[in-house]
Symmetry: C3
Subunit: 166 residues, 3 copies
């Protein structure tokens, strides 16, 4: 039995635990600023989008961030490292309500809520952005990877300081 079959044959609870671990790793990677490791959570061909809920629900394709391959994610990381025009800050991501929505042809649909908190270097922590992850995952070399990750945020207001991934 290949790794993909192992995930597909998991009962709902083992799968949720595997997802708990994956999302904890994912947010931890970003919270620690370990951005070089971030593209490795995705498949080579992938979609990563940050999009306001209003656009998403009305079918407007307009995204605030759009990457369409792992290479584009890597380019983003290079850009983050080279940019110094933004005030230093830390972002922490809290995840809640991870939900398995089902499998379609070897692709797992998952949804979760996230809350991103922002802390400027000499300031207090504040709410930065909240929304939902709408993700599609597939198994590559025995590991679950994001084939598509949509960060659909609740505000219609685009956060000006959206420098780091969500």
């Amino acid at each position: 039995m290949g790794a993909a079959e192992i995930y597909r044959s998991m009962d709902g609870r083992d799968l949720r635990l595997a997802l708990d671990e994956l999302y904890a790793d994912y947010t931890n990677c970003l919270d620690e600023g370990d951005f070089e490791r971030w593209p490795e959570f995705f498949t080579d061909a992938c979609v990563y989008k940050i999009i306001p809920r209003e656009n998403y629900e009305s079918g407007l394709p307009l995204a605030v961030w759009l990457c369409e391959s792992k290479d584009m994610l890597k380019d983003r990381v290079v850009a983050i490292r080279q940019t110094s025009m933004y005030a230093p800050r830390l972002v922490r991501r809290m995840v809640s309500s991870i939900r398995v929505e089902g499998w379609d042809d070897g692709v797992l649909r998952v949804r979760a809520s996230y809350l991103a908190l922002e802390t400027p270097l000499d300031g207090a922590t504040r709410v930065f952005n909240a929304g939902k992850y709408q993700d599609r995952l597939t198994v590559v070399a025995g590991r679950l990877k994001f084939k598509e990750k949509l960060c659909v945020f609740d505000s219609a207001l685009v956060p000006t300081s959206l420098i780091f991934p969500l």
Copy 2:
């Protein structure tokens, strides 16, 4: 073995996973504004209350919301749909620290923390309300349902814009 016995015979961990799923479904239903599905999380005779912690702890019955049956929950949903006096907003609920407190005569006591975030249509996301769920659940037709759900919020200040369930 009936469904109720299956839940009661579950070890603590399987039960916690079943509760993780239930609370993820519950918050997802509300976060998506799928209010018509909300009463189905409750038993026909039920109690749903939103109450400030101070009142709760001093034994004052004064609740901000009080519904005493599934029909009253349904009436609430109709009222939400008919009301248009409030500014459009999204509410997102984060849940943490789900705790199984035990069974009493086929009723499961559960406690959790929640944080409700609010996003006005053209504004930024902010903290709206936080508190604890103090819930009593029972098994109906093979599924865990809320027989009582208390949303005990930390503030003594009643949120003026408490339009949607928590």
Copy 3:
């Protein structure tokens, strides 16, 4: 097989569930203001620190809180009960992304994100402090206990109202 061996022989998922329970108990104890029970989550010899991330990462030992034994934790609780110079408030802790980092000689390394919310007696709930728990646990009399708990918060700003544990 002793209790320590049982935890060490648990697979990753059972261990994560045991940790979910432990952290839910821990935050619940503090959120309910049940401070006398708080030192019991620790081993007799232990380290409890609240430290700004900047100090932590630059290796500065300067902590905002430092306790080096369970007795010091108990002293802290006495101090909390005797102090009345602070405005009454409730603190609620949300935990996310619990990660098992591994065992070293019978000591389990765990990391998690926390968000502390603060509610003044007659005010609205707001973000108070956020950061990560960097914990080392060991098994004492069949139960996981904190041998070291570092609360590394994201801000360089020390919260003036840090009266209760995190």
